[in-house]
Amino acid sequence: MTDTTALKLENLTAKEKALKIIYAVFRVTALITLMIIFFPPLNPARITTEITKHASLFTTTFSYNTITDTLGRSIKLNYISINTIYILMVSCAIILIGVIAICAGACLSLGNKTAKIKGSWFPIVGSILILAGLCGIYFSYIRVKNGIRPDKVPPNLSYSYYLFIAVAAFNFILSITIRALLRQDKKKQPFKIEQKYTLFLMFLPILILTFVFCYLPLYGWRYAFFDYTVGSDLTWKNFKGFYWFTFLFKNKETFNDLLRVLRNTLIMSGLGILTNWLPIAFAVFLVEIPSVKLKKTIQTLTTLPYFISWVLIYAFALALFSTDGLLNNMLSKITGTTHNTNYLQGDSWIWLKMLLWGTWKGIGWSAIVYIASLSSIDQQMYEAADLDGAKRFQKINYITIPMLMPTYFVLLMLQIAGMLSNGLDQYLVFGNAFNMDKIEVLDLYVYDLGFGKNNNMIPISTLVSMAKSIVSVILLFLANGASKLIRGETIV
């Protein structure tokens, strides 16, 4: 096998050993280079402080709107020329192409000798492109510096500019070294990358997407440790450490709020857990119906509410229960006196009402899992029970229900693990000033804190989110462990 991976480290020459190490360093550097173009704090293109702090190099390249959001007025008044912006964006694009070239080189380095050699040109060209783009950025910086109104458009060349120069130079040195160390074999092999690496490279975009949208938000947890309001900086001056933790408990108002919200959340989840046997009853008794057509029709029609949004359900609630809704109309007709209670406003029985709406929406859907489980029960058991003279309810009690227990248990554990998450939509649309006290669950509370009128609550909102995530994961572990103990299997 000429497979390079089969070679052990001791059998390689010094050159090849060095190459292996340098390649590892190079690939890591390429990854880091790729990541920093998405990082707003490290944006070298922020040549004036008027460009938003939230723009990364990537955003500056493509999003004209992001730049003109803050600079729009200055451009109109000619404090800064529009050409400067164009030069800036083109330079950013050149840097981006350079970074892509470096990454392409890193990808090709996973191939065989020919692939490596062909690929070794990419990082060299890439680093040069990055340096060229950085020159372009410097050029636009000079134009801003020499602008008419430095007070309106203050020039700014952050340390990230020099960081990028360093990164580009480092890449250049690495790639030149690699090129020098690589030597073509006497028999030139055809271009080939092993399949296991090509598969990985094909999967790489998926990994990147997942990272950007699922892991990167975790970086936002740092806001819980700073004194942050919209538009302020995250500097060490603002660092508050665990201040917000203690604030949550010391400040009476927020503490009471939190307790109230937790009470609401646990009650709603608790009610859900108490009624989670309803889908089983639904499935069991649906199957008992003698007509096949009727069974299927009922199943289809009762699953319909699952597919509409909570906004629409609120529209139904308005149609039926508001002051001019159906209920009031009927009551007026029947009793002769006008009724116009707005059933949606008060907070009487609100938890029960929310539970009923939730059940109405979800029971058909939840029953499907159980109906599917029922179909896998061996029919011979029922026939044997018939021979023993079992009646209908005895059969349900002794055969059907026990066979459904495993599925029920898993769903119960998942429900317990998800106790703190009730969803936002339902409680947002039904919430109003009158029932907010009782209807505000944790998800809604986090939303109100973060997007509400009070700007100082973003750290607290982040903190509560963070705590909720961590507690949910712990609950999931506990549920998993309980499942292992009781059933012998984990649910995850």
Partner: protein, 308 residues
């Protein structure tokens, strides 16, 4: 398989005693009542939007429509924001779902290839994201940092990776006999070729299922529009726009009345009627497609249930 349990006729081995008949009557009655409860709100809204508006305002339309007309629906064309929201939602459903299905199929297929370097790590990397959630504010700040707020791309890009769907596709592909793939590889086909010409056609059941789930989720999307599009009302989704109309719609009547509708219709429009009509418009596509979808989501739950 779910078909079979519902298709099974009750064995006629046992005699039908009066107790049995009583049970059947009670059973069927309860379910029929519940089904009617499920359907009634839809029906009520429908008849109230196609009936004579004067009767509706007096609360007279309860069980059947009177004075059927579709003037309310025609009058909707004056509500400019609604057309926009509808268009945005339709585009999002079509493009977002198609891309999500493609990406899920692609990812699900690659994960089944055991030769892939660090396959276990890649798979776990994706699956673990199902179990934690960074939170609303961190997610919003992330989108802000990526420059995706107030753009249409924010509707499509985050939804591309759906770990649950990837699991479904992976499980399904693993159940396809391996000889098919192996013989294709012997013929010299690469992974992409096999994926496009063989795996995708064979996986249409599971792909149709996740397409149904994805399409419904996209159509009903509300939260991301609420949080991300605060600067661009023209990008609101249909449900978000409906929510705006339901909760704070003082201008709605004025909007409708300024249009090119006949005077008599204008006079009869009330806030409620307009809200009902817009609500019906937002469900109508789902109602139309629903009977076709039914097959797929039942199958989908079973696939998910078998896995979990």
């Amino acid at each position: 398989m779910a078909e079979s349990i519902l298709s099974k006729k009750r064995s006629s081995v046992f005699k039908k005693s009066p107790g049995d008949i009583a049970f059947y009557i009670i059973d069927i009655t309860i379910f029929v009542i519940f089904t009617l409860i499920c359907l009634f709100p839809f029906y009520y809204l429908l008849i109230n939007t196609i009936s004579d508006n004067n009767l509706v305002s007096k609360g007279l339309i309860i069980l059947y429509p009177k004075g059927i007309n579709i003037k309310n629906y025609l009058a909707l064309k004056n509500v400019s924001d609604l057309g926009n929201a509808f268009l945005v939602t339709v585009l999002r459903t079509l493009i977002g779902t198609a891309l999500m299905v493609l990406v899920s199929a692609y990812a699900g297929y690659l994960v089944t290839k055991e030769q892939m370097w660090k396959r276990k790590f890649c798979y776990r990397f994706i699956i673990i994201t199902m179990y934690f959630n960074a939170g609303l504010i961190p997610w919003y700040l992330n989108m802000l940092m990526l420059g995706l707020t107030n753009t249409f791309a924010a509707y499509i890009l985050p939804g591309l990776i759906s770990p649950f769907n990837i699991i479904l596709v992976k499980t399904y592909i693993e159940s396809i006999p391996k000889d098919i793939e192996e013989s294709a590889m012997l013929d010299g086909a690469g992974p992409m070729r096999i994926f496009i010409t063989m795996i995708c056609p064979l996986s249409t059941p599971v792909l149709a299922t996740i397409a149904v789930f994805g399409a419904v989720a996209n159509w009903n999307s509300f939260q991301d529009s609420l949080v991300l599009m605060q600067g661009t009302p023209e990008l609101f989704t249909l449900q978000h726009r409906l929510y705006v109309y339901l909760s704070s719609a003082t201008n709605l009547e004025a909007l409708m009345r300024n249009g090119t509708v006949s005077a008599e219709v204008q006079a009869s429009l009330t806030l409620r009627i307009v809200q009902y009509t817009i609500s019906m418009v937002s469900i109508l596509p789902i109602l139309c497609v629903y009977p076709l979808m039914q097959r797929y989501f039942v199958k989908g739950i079973m696939m998910g249930a078998v896995k979990g």
